[in-house]
Symmetry: C2
Subunit: 195 residues, 2 copies
DNA sequence: GTCTATATGCTGATAGAC
DNA sequence: GTCTATCAGCATATAGAC
């Protein structure tokens, strides 16, 4: 199929997403210009608007995609077993998933305030749905008597913050593997909620 | 003492810091213009440069002041007692101090990447010094046999992330008081590191 | 110490040629 | 689909009057 010279819709689209993700994570949404993104993609700034209506939707699409992928990955797993087994699965899943996507995780926490109110509400809804999975595990463990937790909602936020925090310091070249880190965090989570 | 009309160095300086703090926390450093800050202060943009050399130093001064105040507050306390007593004191101090300064805490985590490399190194050094206080408590507790922790460094980061996370969801108008929240977190921290 | 005016450059987004 | 050229506006920071 002949194609107009200089036409690359099949590769420019993905390259745009990747470039925006990397630059937003490195410098912040507000500090990155469309011209910077275009330069990284290898086109002129005007060409980007064949793929996105504006800069805001570029950020929103990145965040929504990340949250939907995260939810699909967790909800696509089989979660039988006791509350303790499900909590262990959640802890290991969360740490491994987040450590493998540092840029997506970073902008999902840092750039929320640069979303329009409507877009913010969508992302918050997805985040809430993810946190609810953990909260349900904690409540089940309390009912069964295997967990003892002062407050289910606070404990949910505490555990999420603790395990997400791994992304702020973990480096692949460091002394610990991902699995070792996940094991250490699981030990601490387990004790924190134990009966 | 007669003063030139329109001269207010004694109030414009503090107002500048407060306005920048509030606006940076709300919209982000890169998204806030000097004109916005000037408008909030009640002067023209050019007048701000009687107080600061540039926008960067405005951010840096806010972050350094916050970290130095935080360190002074903790290091100014008496920390006798067992490792468990010191860990409880640290947990309650950290939560109360952070909940009372939401804007300072927020920009201290969000705006690090907008610091120049030199300024970033200074702030990181202060943050490291603060985290070292917690790490030392955890190591002492392990030596004494009162704590059992898989890894002191990882545990330090895990506990810091957990208790700092309270700032992302706590609202004064909510169902829990600061002391109740601190009590819940202390219960979880205590169990997480217990022998 | 604050003002007005300005230098210099970058911003997001669009129009029309190819 | 990408290009060049452009619009209209805002950015940080400075100069000089008062």
């Amino acid at each position: 199929m002949a194609r107009t010279a200089g036409s690359h819709s099949d590769i420019t689209g993905p390259r745009l997403q990747m470039a925006a993700l990397r630059l937003f994570a490195q410098h912040g949404f507000a500090a990155v210009s469309m011209r910077q993104i275009a330069k990284e993609v290898g086109v002129q700034a005007g060409a980007l608007y064949n793929y996105i209506p504006d800069k805001q939707s570029l950020l929103f699409d990145l965040l929504r995609q990340h949250m939907e992928d995260l939810l699909a990955a967790w909800e696509g797993q089989d979660h039988g077993g006791s509350a303790a087994e499900r909590l262990e699965a959640f802890t290991r899943f969360h740490i491994n998933y987040h450590l493998e996507r540092p840029d997506e995780v970073f902008i999902s926490y840092m750039e929320l305030r640069n979303l329009t109110p409507e877009n913010f509400a969508v992302i918050e809804g997805l985040r809430r749905r993810y946190e609810d999975h953990l909260e349900q595990i904690l409540r089940d463990g309390m009912e069964q008597g295997s967990f003892q937790i002062p407050d289910a909602k606070v404990a949910t936020m505490a555990v999420i913050a603790m395990v997400t925090g791994v992304t702020t310091w973990y480096r692949t070249a460091g002394r610990l593997s991902q699995d070792e880190v996940a094991q250490i965090y699981w030990t601490m989570v387990q004790k924190a909620v134990s009966a």
